[in-house]
């Protein structure tokens, strides 16, 4: 893809005996991008991540992380990539800061730099005041944030997050996603995996939908929505004004209009027609109360895609079981 790809995988494959866990997947992650590996448990997301980090052997294909080969140069990769494993664990008997100190020593930071980085990282994930608390007292959300602090402390160029939001309450999820967005703002590329499609949909620039070890679909959520659901744009409008529906129907690109309530209309269009719709309402001296475009839901895309191809998923299931 672009010249600025930080992760490039080509035909990446992992087999355990005769079982194929990851089957010839190819994808690229650009600098500063948030890329989501989405799919059900056991679809091969974690295996893919472990191959990127050189933590498990690659059975076939090529992968390059920041220009390094994880199988041959694992230390160079691991020095530049931060990893938050699924349900990350820390040493309970140590404090949050001591846990990070151990990691920092393993990375090889000198004492002064170590302390500075740890304090900064803990502050940035909102754990500054808990630095000297034992991790045993931490909630799940705090542990996940401590994991992100470790990545921040490391100064990683890529953050790989495996199921970062699973098991978190909505508030903790929102906090975590906020931190992940800040990663992007600082130019850190993020690769995250999740089986909770709707939760991560909002942060991902692009996603790859996994199914039985393969990437079934890849692209931005809205692109996938149009491609799979074929719906184009759905614009909801709430305004008053007689004959509004007729005038809106004349906007180029609008294919259909339906009445969804008193003064509420839904436009089906092949492009985003919000500006024109707003202009029409204003031209009629009508009062615009609501105007919004419906985002395609990943959940709907996923369900629709796999329901549309039952044969293929059946076949894959059979191959998986073999």
């Amino acid at each position: 893809m672009s010249m600025d790809a930080v992760i490039e995988a080509k035909g990446l494959t992992k087999t355990y005996g005769r079982k194929v866990a990851v089957d010839q997947i190819s994808f690229t992650v650009g600098r500063g991008e948030i890329f989501g590996l989405l799919g059900p448990n056991g679809a091969g997301k974690t295996t893919t991540i472990l191959m990127l980090l050189g933590l498990t052997e690659i059975s076939g294909g090529e992968v390059s992380v920041l220009g390094f080969d994880p199988a041959r140069e694992p230390l160079s990769v691991k020095r530049r990539v931060g990893y938050l494993p699924d349900a990350v664990g820390f040493y309970d008997q140590l404090t949050a800061a001591d846990n990070l100190r151990y990691t920092a020593r393993l990375i090889g930071f000198r004492a002064l730099e170590r302390e500075k980085r740890i304090a900064e990282a803990l502050d940035r994930v909102g754990l500054g005041e808990f630095a000297n608390h034992h991790v045993a007292t931490f909630s799940r959300g705090m542990r996940q944030r401590l994991g992100l602090a470790e990545i921040l402390m490391k100064g990683a160029q890529i953050a790989i997050l495996d199921e970062p939001t699973s098991g978190l309450d909505p508030h903790a999820t929102a906090e975590l996603l906020g931190i992940i967005r800040r990663f992007k703002a600082e130019g850190v590329s993020v690769l995250l995996s999740s089986h909770l499609l709707e939760r991560v949909q909002s942060v991902c620039d692009r996603v790859a939908l996994f199914s039985a070890g393969r990437i079934a679909l890849m692209g931005s959520v809205s692109d996938l929505g149009r491609e799979v659901l074929g719906a184009g744009y759905v614009v909801d409008i709430e305004a008053d004004g007689a004959g509004l529906a007729d005038r809106l129907a004349l906007i180029p690109g609008v294919s259909r209009i339906e009445q969804t309530g008193i003064g509420k209309l839904r436009l089906h269009a092949e492009r985003d027609v919000r500006p024109e719709a707003a202009a029409e309402v204003v031209a009629m001296h009508g009062r615009l109360k609501y105007l919004g475009v419906q985002e395609a839901s990943l959940e709907a895309i996923y369900t629709h895609y796999f329901e549309a191809k039952p044969d293929e998923s059946l076949k894959e299931g059979a191959r998986h079981a073999a």
Binding site: L55, T56, R72, R79, V81, A87
Partner: protein
């Protein structure tokens, strides 16, 4: 294909963390307290016994380790019993513990190799045991001085020191065994049971079993039996079999080191007695030489076990 960088990156960091963890863990403190209490008790009893039967023994000091008084066994008996327990207690959950706490993949995603983690864990535990045994050794020597009031000679200290080194190697064997099981078994309880089971087998059952097997393979010759003697072939085989157990090896080394009059481990042939002054002590070098095969055997066992663990760990999947 050469690997990038050093396999020992981070080794010292892991070792020091393990050392700190062990020294502050309640498990280790309890084990160490038990050993200390037993040491004080047995040495005190031994001094009472020595005072009662005072004789002109040139190696009086070594008697602290070996003298027993009914019903309490000697210090070395307790040591050979408790050192494995101490070692197993330190490492039976060292790798599977990281798995179960879900810290393993996080630690391995740092720029270190698995080698450093495993080696660091082993060295950390060994260093912990070395400190504990050194303290114990100093305690026994100090108590001996206090109770009897006769300073030990250089030869005695040298023998006691070599004994300390051998005990550390012996601890290393059980440490490595527990480490292997902590890699193989995902559950810490299973690993502990398997290691303790193997230890009991080698300590209690194997010596008996070795005799039985030897009698089956080489049946006793009735001519020797009639004279009330053991058949040489049977005895030799029994000894070969018994020496497969690290406990037997350790026991033999201890006898050679702490009893300077020991001339051979196993059957003594007439040729060996030619020109020998019976009951005369050997110099330290000669005693070490007698036990040298056993010492090398222990060392080799520890290294072999560690290598097995290393190979298994390298091939293991990281994911939980």
């Amino acid at each position: 294909m050469r690997r990038e960088g050093s396999a020992f990156n981070g080794l010292g960091v892991v070792m020091l963390k393990e050392l700190a963890d062990h020294l502050t863990s309640i498990r280790f403190i309890i084990l160490e307290l038990i050993v200390m209490l037993i040491a004080v008790g047995t040495v005190y009893v031994a001094t009472q016994q020595i005072k009662d039967t005072v004789a002109e023994d040139p190696f009086l000091f070594l008697k602290f380790f070996t003298t027993s008084r009914e019903p309490l066994p000697s210090f070395i008996f307790w040591l050979s019993l408790l050192v494995p327990v101490l070692a197993i207690g330190l490492t039976f959950d060292s790798v599977n513990g990281e798995h179960n706490r879900r810290t393993l993949s996080r630690i391995l995603s740092q720029p270190i190799y698995r080698d450093a983690l495993l080696f660091g864990k082993f060295l950390g535990a060994l260093l912990t045991l070395t400190i504990a045994l050194l303290v114990l050794w100093l305690l026994v020597v100090g108590l001996g001085l206090l109770f009897i009031g006769i300073p030990p000679g250089g030869e005695e200290i040298a023998r006691a020191f070599v004994f300390l080194l051998v005990t550390i190697v012996y601890a290393g064997v059980w440490l490595a065994l527990a480490l292997v099981f902590s890699i193989i078994f995902r559950s810490a309880a299973t690993a502990a049971l398997a290691t303790l089971g193997l230890w009991l087998f080698f300590y209690v059952i194997w010596p008996v079993l070795a005799g039985e097997i030897a009698q089956i393979v080489v049946p006793p010759d009735p001519r020797y039996t009639a004279l009330g003697l053991q058949t040489p072939g049977t005895v030799v085989l029994e000894q070969i079999l018994a020496r497969l157990s690290p406990s037997t090896l350790f026991g033999e080394i201890v006898v050679a080191l702490l009893d300077p009059t020991t001339r051979a481990l196993g059957p003594i042939y007439l040729s060996q007695l030619q020109g020998a002054v019976l009951g005369a002590p050997l110099p330290l070098g000669a005693s070490v030489l007698i036990a040298w095969p056993q010492i090398v055997g222990l060392l080799a066992t520890a290294i072999l076990l560690f290598v097995i663990g290393y190979v298994v760990f390298q091939r293991q999947e990281v994911r939980a």
